[in-house]
């Protein structure tokens, strides 16, 4: 195959170990592990769960992990298509279908339940699309209306199921809140099949999904079958949601579609990598949640999975290298530190310009040079001394070192060049340029300075201050 940069072929590879593990599993008893009493797990249990020794645990953990993978991958495209909340409407709208199948059959028939869920979920999506075309109803309102009305209808039908007292209401409850432990090996295979379908479709139709998410109109003009691709994408979201209902619950299943892609977006600007990261973090959250609830059976699997994804999101938001919050704060802080230092050095340069090279400057003179607080001046001055650009003389005055003088001259020159540029080319009054120059000069790069020199015909010298005598800094 041709080199496929940015295409999640690797996702296919990620599936292989899981399919092996499942193939080796013995068909054991379908005993629910929720029967064990509440107690803190010993090391034996933890290692059992981690090493997937127990058959039931293996089924649950593998099923949940594949679900997280599939949801993270298809969720990436739904998220970028701004359809993430549509998934929420969809999952809530599955409840009437589930309850209706319960009512009619009076028993838990998994394939029919999932079919009912899918049908009523799709009806919900169609209702959102239909409501949207009505003037004055925006998408958020349409989603809110469909989500709550379908869920309400489902709860009423659920109430009827309870009245029947068939003893199956516990089954329906697991669809609402999620109970991964109730997963049978058949269910895990179903999830595995959906995961394969999702990964295959997102790999084969990567191009179409990408252009559809970025620019629907251009996609249409390129001959991309926009409606078919949109339906295919929505169908994959429906499939993933429906097979995930039992494990995570219909209230929380949408989180697996939204949170991993939102977290992945912080780490990369490449769609292929984002898809991989979202799939991996969805899988990791689901694996962790399922393992933990295998060890501590009374913990709700769905909720743990969501919390785990939430932690990953929070860490991504804070710590991601370029887009993260901490990186942003650090950038702002180091810029203001640099600006403070440059202000100090410029004050030195202007002082030497007025008097003579090597003349010391006192703290009082520095404080008068510009409107800065004594604290911030002190901090920037200490920094300049640490960097070897300024020394403290015996008389209590401060002087530039020779290295500091070079740097200070460069800073002063950039400032003056920028001031001149603003006056000559941007028609800004000399009395106003100083503050404007202040904002920009600290971020001037070498190429911009070269361009300034060309524009101003000032190749070497530091231009004199454009301000009237005594106008100062």
């Amino acid at each position: 195959m041709i080199a496929m940069r940015g295409i999640p072929w690797a996702l296919v590879a990620m599936l292989i170990p899981f399919s092996n593990a499942m193939a080796q599993s013995q068909p054991g008893t379908h005993r629910s592990i929720t029967d064990t009493a509440v107690h803190w797990p010993g090391w034996d249990q933890v290692s059992q769960a981690l090493l997937l020794r127990d058959y039931n645990t293996r089924v649950v953990v593998i099923g949940a992990t594949l679900l997280g993978l599939a949801a993270g991958v298809i969720g990436t495209f739904a998220y970028l298509r701004k359809r993430a909340l549509m998934g929420d409407a969809l999952s809530h709208a599955t409840l009437p279908g589930i309850a209706l199948v319960f009512l009619i059959l009076g028993a838990k028939n998994m394939p029919l339940l999932l079919l009912g869920a899918a049908v009523s979920g799709i009806l919900g999506v169609l209702a959102v699309i239909g409501l949207r075309t009505i003037p004055r109803i925006k998408e958020d309102a349409a989603i809110g209306i469909v989500l709550s009305v379908f869920f309400g209808l489902g709860m009423v039908l659920f109430g009827l199921v309870q009245q029947l007292k068939t003893g199956n209401e516990a089954g329906i409850q697991s669809f609402i809140y999620g109970k991964a432990a109730a997963m049978l090996h058949r269910d895990a295979w179903l999830i595995g099949g959906v995961a394969v379908a999702v990964v295959a479709a997102c790999t084969l139709f990567y191009k179409d999904f990408r252009i559809l998410c970025f620019d629907e109109e251009f996609a249409g003009s390129q001959g991309c079958p926009v409606v078919v691709m949109d339906l295919a994408m929505m169908a994959l979201v429906v499939l993933t949601t429906v097979v995930g209902l039992q494990a995570v619950g219909l209230i929380l299943v949408v989180s697996l579609l939204i949170i991993p892609p939102a977290a992945a977006r912080f780490w990369t600007d490449d769609l292929g990598i984002m898809t991989l990261v979202a799939g991996a973090s969805g899988a990791a959250s689901a694996w962790f949640g399922a393992t933990l609830s295998a060890v501590m059976p009374r913990l709700p699997t769905g909720a743990i999975i969501v919390l785990c994804a939430g932690v990953m999101f929070f860490v991504s938001m804070m710590a991601a290298p370029r887009r993260g919050v901490i990186a942003g704060i650090w950038r702002g802080w180091s810029l203001s530190r640099r600006i403070g230092l440059q202000h100090v050095l410029r004050a030195f340069a202007e002082h030497e310009e007025r008097y003579a090279e090597g003349v010391g400057i006192t703290m009082q003179q520095l404080l008068a040079a510009r409107s800065w607080s004594p604290v911030s001046l002190q901090r920037s001055l200490q920094r300049a001394i640490r960097r070897g650009e300024v020394t403290r003389g015996g008389d209590g005055g401060f002087r530039l070192t020779s290295a500091g003088r070079v740097e200070a001259a460069r800073i002063l020159r950039n400032h003056r060049l920028w001031e001149l540029y603003l006056i000559r080319h941007a028609d800004i009054a000399p009395s106003h340029v100083d503050r404007d120059a202040d904002d920009v000069e600290h971020v001037l790069s070498e190429p911009i300075v070269r361009e300034l020199e060309r524009a101003l015909d000032e190749a070497v010298a530091i231009p004199p201050s454009p301000h009237a005598e005594g106008g100062g800094v």
Partner: protein, 264 residues
Amino acid sequence: MTANSASDHDAACPVSIHDLTVAYHRKPVLWDVDFAAPEGSLIGVVGPNGAGKSTLIKACLNLVPAASGSVRFYGKPYREQRKIVGYVPQRESVDWDFPASALDVVTMGRYGRIPWCLPPSRKDKAAALQCLDQVGMADYARRQISKLSGGQQQRVFLARALVQDAQIYFMDEPFAGVDAATEGAIVELLHELRARRKTVVIVHHDLQTVSAYFDHVVLLNMRIVAVGPTNEVFTDENLQKTYGGRLTLLDKAAEAIAQGGHHK
């Protein structure tokens, strides 16, 4: 359409629009547009807000359904001529925070000719890079698109249309909100396209530059007010007709149709 509609479209004409009417929510926004674009010319589509300028382009590209009428490209419908028609949508129509580089976006211009299920080849990437270079953006190929300025984003969109290597281009307000350097680059590009006998239809907002930029002009306000060579048609009188005084009767008729639709 009537049986004789095919004969109304000239096979030598790059874009011929016949009796085109478009309605949103039953409210007509374009009435009976008739237009034949001369080959190898730069055609400005000018008119006030809500005149249906973008709608005209989108209807030509089958992006909004036409209530009636037909559009032909060299005598054939859009479906058959897709490969020779390039499109530059409005810059604001997409979310620029999408995870893609400038090169990724330009490569999308080749998606129409890459076989299904296959990724872009090295040749596609090379073509995209060359078109980026043509709009002076080669240095920004790897940059994330949200980190580009408005003018640079517009150039990326132009490069994406160039890589389509079309005969006919539709551009929706390419000059909106761009810097002087980009404006100059776009004008240069348009002249180059014209020299290669391409036909370019451009929605334009700035009346000051119409005479300088376009050979032909379409004055549009829900219907065609005037159409023809710029020096003949772009007159004060026609502008007055296009911009001055709302077309109260047409408005009322449109309103009545929309209302009637709800009462049915």
